[in-house]
């Protein structure tokens, strides 16, 4: 009988974090080297507070429902960790006899996983840490794509496709669709996936990787509108100007995350208003917002299956003795699409962002 395995979630949830959790639980059942499989409530917060769920003793119906259930069933958190926190984490893990820790999250979380794996305490107690990638923004490097992105991409592609059909019904509509993506435009770009002809929307897509300019924007929309008598304009929530300043951002003190970053949002309304004020064009704005990461109906089956496979593989790797790595998706064939699972050192992904033009 081996030692215990812990799984925790970090950062914003996705449509398929629970699918990876399902893979972890099912694989642990198959591994004699794992004694108990525990889940931390609300990520690292739950580790610090010793709030664990015994995942091996949940009703079968709850476990079986996990793959199709978006969000994080365990709960997640965004916490900036202090040195004392790290020491406490190591001490909690030791006291629960946790030899394997699987942490799923974005690049902040991979930084946490890396630091944990490198602690002297980790070596002393034989703790192994393996990271699982996850972001709807798709901004993690060293993986073909991030689990969670596929479902969110499908969601926003569907919004764009449906809205262009809607826009064809009434004369001369302009819609500005705001899409998630704090620093990268992967999700905004995905809005073109349902486009079959150049006449179809989205007609314009603006991403954070390209500095935004008001005059060009107004000219672009006018031009599209004159040609098609409608315009579906997609904008990333994180658009910035040439000077790096966000095109629109709340100046409210409450609108900051725990890392002190100002939260983006409502640039779509700002730009729809700009079209009214500066170009005399009536524009609606849409902001499906976080529903893009939690829409049960538009979860991607490929995204779900890859996440289950990643969860299983993470258990196999950590049990086999690996530590300090993040698993990744490797595209082995484009047509038909096939993938394999590999691994990279955590230092290659911790705090690193992958923009579209990289």
């Amino acid at each position: 009988m081996g030692r215990n395995l812990l799984i925790a979630h970090g950062g914003g949830p996705t449509s398929v974090m629970n699918a990876a959790l399902y893979g972890v639980i099912r694989e642990c059942e198959a591994q004699s080297d794992v004694a108990e499989v525990l889940g931390a409530r609300h990520g690292i917060e739950g580790v610090l507070a010793e709030e664990f769920v015994d995942l091996g003793r949940q009703p079968a119906a709850v476990i079986d429902a996990l793959p199709g259930r978006p969000s994080s069933a365990l709960g997640s958190c965004r916490r900036k960790l202090s040195d004392t926190d790290y020491e406490q984490i190591a001490s909690v893990l030791e006291s629960y006899d946790i030899g394997c820790f699987i942490y799923q999250g974005g690049n902040d979380s991979m930084d946490t996983a890396m630091k944990l794996s490198r602690m002297p305490e980790a070596e002393r107690v034989g703790l192994r840490v393996v990271g699982l990638p996850k972001t709807v923004d798709n901004d993690l490097p060293e993986t073909d794509h991030c689990p969670g992105y596929g479902s969110a991409a499908r969601f926003y592609a569907q919004v764009a496709r449906d809205m262009d059909v809607d826009n064809q019904a009434l004369p001369s509509p302009i819609a500005v669709l705001e899409v998630m993506g704090r620093n990268t435009g992967w999700l905004a770009a995905a809005c073109s996936l349902g486009k079959d002809t150049p006449e179809q929307g989205p007609h314009l897509i603006y991403v954070p990787e390209r500095p935004f300019d008001d005059a060009s924007f107004l000219a672009d929309v006018r031009d599209v509108y004159n040609r098609h008598r409608r315009a579906l304009v997609v904008v990333s929530e994180g658009l910035v100007r040439n000077n790096g300043i966000p095109v629109y951002i709340s100046d409210r003190a409450v609108d900051c995350d725990d890392f002190g970053h100002r939260l983006p949002g409502n640039v779509g309304k700002y730009l729809a208003d700009l079209l009214g004020d500066e170009a005399g064009l009536r524009a609606r704005n849409l902001k499906p917002d976080l529903w893009g990461r939690s829409c049960a109906m538009l979860q991607s089956a490929t995204d779900r299956d890859e996440s289950i496979a990643l969860g299983r593989h993470a258990v196999q790797m950590v049990v086999a003795g690996w530590s300090g790595i993040m698993l990744n998706l490797v595209r082995t064939s484009q047509e038909p699409y096939e993938f394999d699972i590999g691994a990279v050192a955590l230092e290659k992904v911790a705090n690193v962002e992958r923009p579209m033009n990289s």
Copy 2:
């Protein structure tokens, strides 16, 4: 061989207008009293411009795809008709030998249908006019519910359900979900359809039928937040204060429809900002907006089937000689849900709105 039948769409599209169109086309095929079935492009605009589609000569694949395709394949319009317009419509209908006119729309459109049916020219040329109800807002009287409402209700109920699951993942989130509904709260109320327990969101729903008060709103949200450590707040786009003034509305000249009505929108952002400013609570706002009427994935099968049946029935009624009526849905059994199709005089619905407290 009979005379020709015309179908046209008025007002904003819904998820199931094309389903009714499908019913009309299929029933016309079965009726020897109908010579040709024509569709007007962009509603009354297409009648005035003599832009008709020969619906009997479309590829079978196009017709078969109609029921599952949201929006209006014919196109719709919002046009305030003058006396000259009415005369021109009568003259166009006569020159195309149109004896039957089916007009699907909201209460503005039912007013148009009524006026057309009462024109002296209508009697002279033997024109019969039958209205089909349609609104996502569900604000038409004299029908159990409006075709289009069921799908939009399903959409917003799903947003609310998914977002509450998302909100449970991270600590202390507050979300303000803006829902369609210019003057009535039917769609906002539908957000509670996916709620199984009192702890689940939506925790608060604000509708236009109840005057909105800032202080009560702030106190309500604070109270929910203190109890649940999260709050999902649903607001109708058309919220008004005690004095009848909208809680938030654009003051831009372009943000008016062709009837001169100011278009609602972004009250959700306004209220999320208010929570930050007045209560120090960080709140996100969501605005899925018109996607609620055009989301292909969340079309309701019941809504679709009822619309097909209404389309078929409209042809039967107008061919049988009826005119000046709107077909309606009559609930004949609650459990299991069963419906029948009836009819009311157009004057009972023209320009009449049905709020929730009626």
